[in-house]
Amino acid sequence: MSVVQNNSEKSKWYLPGILGGLNVTMKHLVTNLLNRKKMMTLNYPEEKYEYSPRFKGNHVLTVKKDGSLRCTACMLCATNCPAECIKITAAEHNDPSVEKFPISYEIDILRCVFCGFCEEACPVDAIRLGPEWQTPAVNGGQFIYDINHLAYRPSLKGGIQTHVDDEERHKQGI
C-alpha cells in the first residue's frame, strides 16, 4: 500500500482540515433540511431506485407464443459463462421442428457475476438479464434458479416474448 504524504505547511495545522470537513457536512445538512425533495438518500425498502432498462439483474428466459421456452439448449451461454454458473441438460423434443430443448436449466445466482455474456452468446434471444436485483432467499438451495423461476416467475406475468417470430422466419426460409 502506498502512503501519500502531504508535507505542505498547511497540513501542519490540523484544525483547518477538520473545519473544512465539517463545513461539507453542515452544507448538506442545511440543504437537505431546507429542500427535502433533493435529498440523495432513499427510504429503502419503502422507496426504490429506478434503474435504467439496460440494468443487468436477474436472468429471464424468454418464451415463444405458445408459452414454451425459446431456449434450444445449445449451451453457448454455459460455454461463455466465466463464472460457470449455468447448468443445462438437453433432451430430444417430440416435435421435430424443435428437436432439442432443455429439460433442466439452472443458474446458480450466487456464482453469477452478472456480466451478461450469456445474453450476448445466445443465438436465439432466449436469455436476458432483467431489471430485478433484490432477490433474497432463506437458504442456499433457493439461489439456484430453475426453469420455473427463470421463465415463469410471477413478476414476469406468464413469460417474456421476443419480437423475433420463429414461425415467420422458418416460413421465409431463413
Binding site: 439448449a73 445449445c74 460455454t79 438437453a90 433432451a91 428437436e99 432439442k100 443465438p123 426460409g173
Partner: protein
C-alpha cells in the same frame, strides 16, 4: 516412384498415388469433404481443387494421379477462389442450425468455412426444405437438410460393411440420403457412418444431445470389447465417459470399429462401478476403503497360502497386472492353482470377417503368455473338483469389467461361492456379488481407461496404452492389489520414464492434471 512438387516442396510418392494422398503425405493442408482415406474416390464435393502447371483449369486432387515431374499448387489465388465459392454452393441449402447440431465443434463445414471460406453469401433464393430427424435405424438419426451429399456413408455401406442399406434418392437440390424400403441402417458397423459424416447429418442416437463436443477431452486407448484390440479414442469430462470413436491403426482396425465396441464406455462410468471396498465376515457387510479391504484380505490369503489357495483370472486385465498377480501367487504364496475363466467358449474363435471376434476379452493372448511363463497348467475342472471336495478354501478372483461379455457371470459366482473365503476384485457392480455367502472381501479395481498397460491382441500384437483419467479413486490395479495381498505396502510408482521428454530436468514437477484441464480447442478432423 514418381516425383512431384507440391507447393514448392519435392515429394516422392508410390505409383498410383492421387494428389490428395501425396498432400497428406507431405503434410500440406487441403480442403475436402467426400474423400476419405478408407473409401473409394467419388469426386463429388469439388473442394480439393489444385492447380497443376500446364493445365488451364483447376482440378480435383482426389481423382488425379501424380505423374512424374508434376508441379502442384493449392495456395494460389485461383485455387483459393475456387474453394471459397465451392463452399458457398455447399452451404446454399445448409440450415446453419449449429446451435442444436451435435457436430458443432468438430464439423467439417465450420472448420473449412473458417479456413477457406469467410465470404458473404450471395444466394438470394430460399433454402430447400428437406426431412429432419429421420430415423434410419436403431443407432443413427439423419437430418437431410444438413447433408452436403458427399456420399461417404453410402460408400461405407457399399464397400466396408457391404450391407448396401443407404442410397442417394431424387435429383438436383432435392437429393437426399435415405435407406431403401424396408431396410433400416442396421448393421454391426453402422455408427462408422456417423464418424465419417463431415457434417451433422448423421448423428448417433446414443450420444445425441448428451454433451457438446467442446466439453469433452479425448484420450487414445485400446478397446477392450474383443480380442481384435481396435485403437480407439475415448471422450470424457468430469461427468464421466460419453463416447468412443475409432483411431486409425493400419495394422489393427484401419479407420473403423464396431458398434459393440462403442458401448465399452458405459460400464466405466461411476453409476456402474464398485466405488468402495466391502468386507463381510460373519454376517454383516462393512464398507471400507478399497486398499483397506485388500489389506484385510491379506491375512486370510496368507493363512491359506499353499494348496488351499486358488486364483481365478479373467482375460480383461493388462499383461503387467497378470504378471504381478500371478508372480505373487507363484512366488509368495507357493500355489500354482491359477485358473483361466473362459467366457462364451463356443464362440471363442468366431470372426465376422471385418473386426468383430467371438473372444470378448482384450488380452487372452497376454494371459496365456503369462500363465505359460509360470508353467501353470491348471484347468477349470481342477478348480471345480477342489471346490467340491473342500481342498480349496480361499479363492481370489479378478472378475470381468465388461459384464456384457460374461453372460455366465452369476452361474460362475455360484460355483465359486462354495469356497469359504472369497476375495473378489471387480470393477463393475453386480448383485450376484453382494449375495455371496461366507466371508467375502470385495475390492474395487480400475478399468482399462484408468491405468497404463499392455494388451496383446489375437494376432499377438502388443499394444501399449496410457491412462485417460480416474473415475473411482479408491480402485486398485491388480498390481497394487497383488502387493497389498502379499502384505507389502504400495510404493509410489516411478513416473513412466519412457514417456518423459528428453530436455526435462530430473526434478521437474509434472503438472499432468493441469495440462489436462487446459482448453482443447482444435478437435476432430475430417
Amino acid at each position: 516412384m514418381p516425383k512431384c512438387t507440391i507447393n514448392g516442396k519435392e515429394v516422392e510418392v508410390k505409383e498410383g498415388t492421387s494428389i490428395i494422398e501425396a498432400m497428406q503425405q507431405s503434410g500440406d493442408r487441403i480442403a475436402h469433404y467426400c474423400w476419405h482415406p478408407g473409401l473409394s474416390v467419388a469426386g463429388v464435393c469439388r473442394l480439393c481443387m489444385v492447380e497443376i502447371e500446364g493445365n488451364p483449369r483447376v482440378q480435383i486432387a482426389c481423382n488425379t494421379m501424380v505423374t512424374e515431374g508434376m508441379k502442384i499448387n493449392n495456395t494460389s489465388e485461383k485455387v483459393k477462389d475456387a474453394v471459397k465459392w465451392g463452399l458457398d454452393f455447399h452451404l446454399i441449402n445448409h440450415p446453419l442450425d449449429c446451435p442444436i447440431c451435435d457436430q458443432a465443434g468438430e464439423c467439417g463445414l465450420q472448420d473449412q468455412y473458417m479456413e477457406y471460406g469467410k465470404y458473404d453469401p450471395e444466394m438470394a433464393e430460399h433454402k430447400q426444405k428437406k426431412h429432419k430427424v429421420v430415423d434410419l435405424g436403431p443407432t443413427v438419426v439423419l437430418d437431410s437438410e444438413r447433408c452436403i451429399l458427399c456420399s461417404r456413408c453410402v460408400r461405407f455401406t457399399e464397400e466396408v460393411s457391404k450391407t448396401n442399406e443407404l442410397g442417394l434418392f431424387n435429383r438436383g437440390d432435392r437429393t437426399e440420403i435415405g435407406t431403401h424400403d424396408g431396410m433400416p441402417l442396421d448393421n454391426k458397423y453402422s455408427l462408422n457412418t456417423v464418424d465419417i459424416c463431415p457434417v451433422g447429418a448423421l448423428t448417433s442416437k446414443d450420444f445425441r444431445f448428451r454433451q457438446r463436443v467442446w466439453y469433452l477431452k479425448d484420450a487414445e486407448t485400446v478397446c477392450n470389447g474383443c480380442s481384435t484390440g481396435c485403437n480407439v479414442k475415448v471422450y470424457y469430462n468430469k461427468e464421466g465417459f460419453f463416447r468412443v470413436k475409432p483411431a486409425y491403426n493400419e495394422q489393427v482396425n484401419g479407420h473403423w470399429m464396431c458398434d459393440e465396441g462403442r458401448d465399452i464406455y458405459k460400464f466405466v462410468n461411476k453409476e456402474h462401478r464398485l466405488a468402495k471396498g466391502m468386507i463381510r465376515q460373519g454376517g454383516t457387510w462393512k464398507e471400507v476403503h478399497g486398499g483397506a479391504a485388500a489389506k484385510a484380505a491379506a491375512e486370510v490369503v496368507k493363512a491359506s497360502a499353499g494348496d488351499s489357495l486358488a486364483l481365478v483370472l479373467t482375460a480383461q486385465y493388462t499383461v503387467e497386472e497378470f504378471e504381478a498377480i500371478v508372480g505373487t501367487f507363484v512366488n509368495e504364496f507357493k500355489t500354482k492353482k491359477v485358473f483361466f475363466w473362459i467366457n462364451n467358449k463356443e464362440s471363442f474363435d468366431s470372426f465376422d470377417g471385418l473386426l468383430l471376434r467371438g473372444d470378448k476379452n482384450p488380452n487372452t493372448k497376454g494371459l496365456l503368455k503369462v500363465l505359460e511363463k509360470h508353467g501353470i497348467t491348471a484347468t477349470w475342472n481342477d478348480l471345480s473338483a477342489g471346490l467340491a471336495n473342500g481342498s480349496i478354501k480361499t479363492v481370489v478372483v479378478a472378475g470381468p469389467e465388461n459384464m456384457a461379455a460374461f453372460p455366465d457371470f452369476a452361474e460362475r459366482v455360484k460355483e465359486l461361492s462354495k469356497a469359504q473365503n472369497i476375495v473378489w476384485m471387480q470393477a463393475t457392480k453386480h448383485e450376484a456379488l453382494t449375495n455371496l455367502p461366507g466371508n467375502v472381501w470385495l475390492i474395487p479395481v480400475k478399468t482399462f481407461v484408468e491405468k497404463d498397460g499392455t494388451f496383446i491382441n489375437h494376432a499377438g500384437l502388443e499394444q501399449k496404452f496410457k491412462k485417460a483419467t480416474t473415475i473411482v479413486s479408491e480402485a486398485l490395479t491388480l498390481t497394487e492389489a497383488a502387493l497389498l495381498l502379499a502384505g507389502k505396502n504400495l510404493a509410489i510408482p516411478a513416473s513412466g520414464n519412457e514417456f518423459k521428454p528428453m530436455n526435462q530436468r530430473a526434478d521437474q514437477v509434472e503438472l499432468e492434471a493441469r495440462k489436462k484441464n487446459e482448453f482443447v480447442f482444435r478437435r476432430g478432423s475430417l
